[in-house]
Symmetry: C2
Subunit: 461 residues, 2 copies
Amino acid sequence: MSHHYKISILFLLFLSFKSKCQNSDSIALRKNFDYYLTKSNCYKNLEFLSTKIESRLSGSPGAAKAVIWAKKAMYEAGADTVYLQPCMVPHWVRGPKESCYSIDTKTKQKVNYSVCALGNSVGTSQNGVNGKVISVNSFNQLDSLGEKNIKGKIVFFNVFFDHKHLSTGSCYGETVTYRYSGPSKAAKYGAIATIVRSMSSINNDFPHTGVMGYDTTVSLKKIPACAISYSGADQLANKLKNNPSLSLYLKTSCEMLKKELSYNVVGEIKGSEKPNEIIMAGGHLDAWDNGQGAHDDGAGVVQAIEVLALYKKQNIKPKHTIRAVAFMNEENGGAGGKAYFEDTKKNNLKHIAALESDAGGFSPRGISIDTTLGAFKKVLTWKSLLDPYFVQYIKPGGHGADISYLKELDVPLIGFEPDGQKYFDYHHTSDDTFDKINKRELELSAGVIGSLIYLIDMKGW
Amino acid sequence: MSHHYKISILFLLFLSFKSKCQNSDSIALRKNFDYYLTKSNCYKNLEFLSTKIESRLSGSPGAAKAVIWAKKAMYEAGADTVYLQPCMVPHWVRGPKESCYSIDTKTKQKVNYSVCALGNSVGTSQNGVNGKVISVNSFNQLDSLGEKNIKGKIVFFNVFFDHKHLSTGSCYGETVTYRYSGPSKAAKYGAIATIVRSMSSINNDFPHTGVMGYDTTVSLKKIPACAISYSGADQLANKLKNNPSLSLYLKTSCEMLKKELSYNVVGEIKGSEKPNEIIMAGGHLDAWDNGQGAHDDGAGVVQAIEVLALYKKQNIKPKHTIRAVAFMNEENGGAGGKAYFEDTKKNNLKHIAALESDAGGFSPRGISIDTTLGAFKKVLTWKSLLDPYFVQYIKPGGHGADISYLKELDVPLIGFEPDGQKYFDYHHTSDDTFDKINKRELELSAGVIGSLIYLIDMKGW
């Protein structure tokens, strides 16, 4: 028997061992997905959260109810312990429905536009604001126009998604700055209000809200800011073309009240071998007040809760401590994410991975990982295991906002990415409702999340 | 300079050449997708086909209008020539809305069920049929029950999708036999009608029609056959549990009229180098009468037409002849597919590839190829080019029914596969309407189809 022959036999044994491992993993994952597709509770949980609890923006009575619900749901899923993790959150309220119209020069009739105040914005006065509209399509253009053209006017940021992007997230990423930073940039030149074209993939009449922030580094008037629907923006742009001195009336009644105490909800199953090492999956519990927050981010919350259920209902004992986290205040402040980080740091907790699902309850598409450690390479070796479950890619990249603070602690951060083509059809609108959720899509994505957590728990880094 | 060195340089040159090719291909594909995502007409075409033309089941006035529309749309897309390819198609009509109810034993009130006649079924008499219901969940059970339990009754095939399947097509494949073959199998034991649980992924009240066929190899009565909605089937099953001798009244008014002349619509751009070699992309123009046929298969038709537009509007001269085909009668006969095959054979036409898109207008997911030639391996080498456009897999496998006849001529057959989780939510129902189509998803999938045709044209096999 030659040396070469011996090596070959060892090599074959190794291959056979490796293939057996892959095979038993693949059987385990198939069992997980049987659970998700036939017995899981995430769809029913999402129905309850979306339709039985009133809107749940941070600080609202709905958010408080959602916290109580999440605690109960986590216990029902099989958590050993559920913590409420306190955080002080902004309490912004929209007030009565916004009003925005111009007067048609010929018919003298009101032309109404669908608008909604942006989160954290101040409202107009009781009498609303009235002003000429100036349309701009970039901050550069705003700067060139300057005070002499802007002062006393309503600035209309008329910036479209660039549909050449394959990822709608990239479309959003390029335009969201006009929503977030536009108001203060316009106020610098004396604008009295801003209206931003909705960050929308499709042409319809739903205005898309979302957070804005005033620049507090300089002394500037806080001006009211709102979003206009895609079709409303088209209509307004058209009117402006025919009548460049068009005036708009705008009334919003939103206001920022004083901060409220709220909570992240943290459910866990203690690890049987390494209880001090945490693997976490999360989504955010708060949602914009105008819709049901089914895709953003009820889906992420129920998927995280279902990770606990996977272990408990399948009677699997995790080696590490498994956590599901329902974060508070992702939408307009990030207080929950920060509180989770502070708690982790203060108590010197070790997370070996943190995953967030905050891109809707659609079919699985991929996984993105942000880590300086070897975790990425390890997850890559599981590609063929996850491939049958519609995981097209595992790539370095972004993740949810809530877990981003953990980067300072070198926690490998994982973003679950569903198919994203429709996300910005519903995002931050009253159309983000439970009937837009497909049961199988939600469950398959929950299955990928649960299976990834399962693989990390079984194999570590 | 050593020999080894020379080889290395040649190798590097080769690599550099290969990478330049890949690079120029990748730039070309990116340009294609720019076209699809910003300038293509497929969404508007689908809107017209779905909403401006009445229902277009084979033989109907709507189908005749759809043929005229497709011809016009192909010329507008840039076809050199558009042929109408004749075929004799069945002309089945539903007639007035179906009626199905039981009488509640306590309240004596009618309990109505949502049903629809199956395509090609005979209707009941004017007076309808009345009979006790017997529920079966397999053909084995039907056989065991036999004539003594079945005779004079209405057989209710109560078979669910097995949701453990990752592909909804597999769920459908397992259950569709009860729809297609159930009526004759039940008639063998003296059943007077059949009702099949809708081939549906979701629980709602839309009944799903679809083709059935009578077994004409034996002398059997043709009994009326219909489908009941998912929730209706639940309700019926529940009533039967409480009252095993429950009777149903069923009335359907459908009938098969005499065959009609109809057409495939074939649009082509002649090849500049190999005009006698055809690359074809198709979908089917006919659709069930109850809905708009937006996903099934308006989407496939407009995607095929858009292949012509890609060449014309982008000013690309194809080497081979590019064909878009809108097939007639896929749903209840396949006359169009057969006519296309006969024409191909008679005229000794050479197809180097035939692609069909008939699985809805959703996001791209993969490509399946059925060929005994080297085409599969060649397409595999394009995986990395198609990967950014959400093509997760290229695998051996199925394709559309219309192109299946070409297998006899050794034509490599390609099935385009979009994400399929929602397809059987809408399939063959009145809910298959244009508003269920997402513009970007339709365009991205059209882009994959166009780009695949482009690569085959550029590189051949």
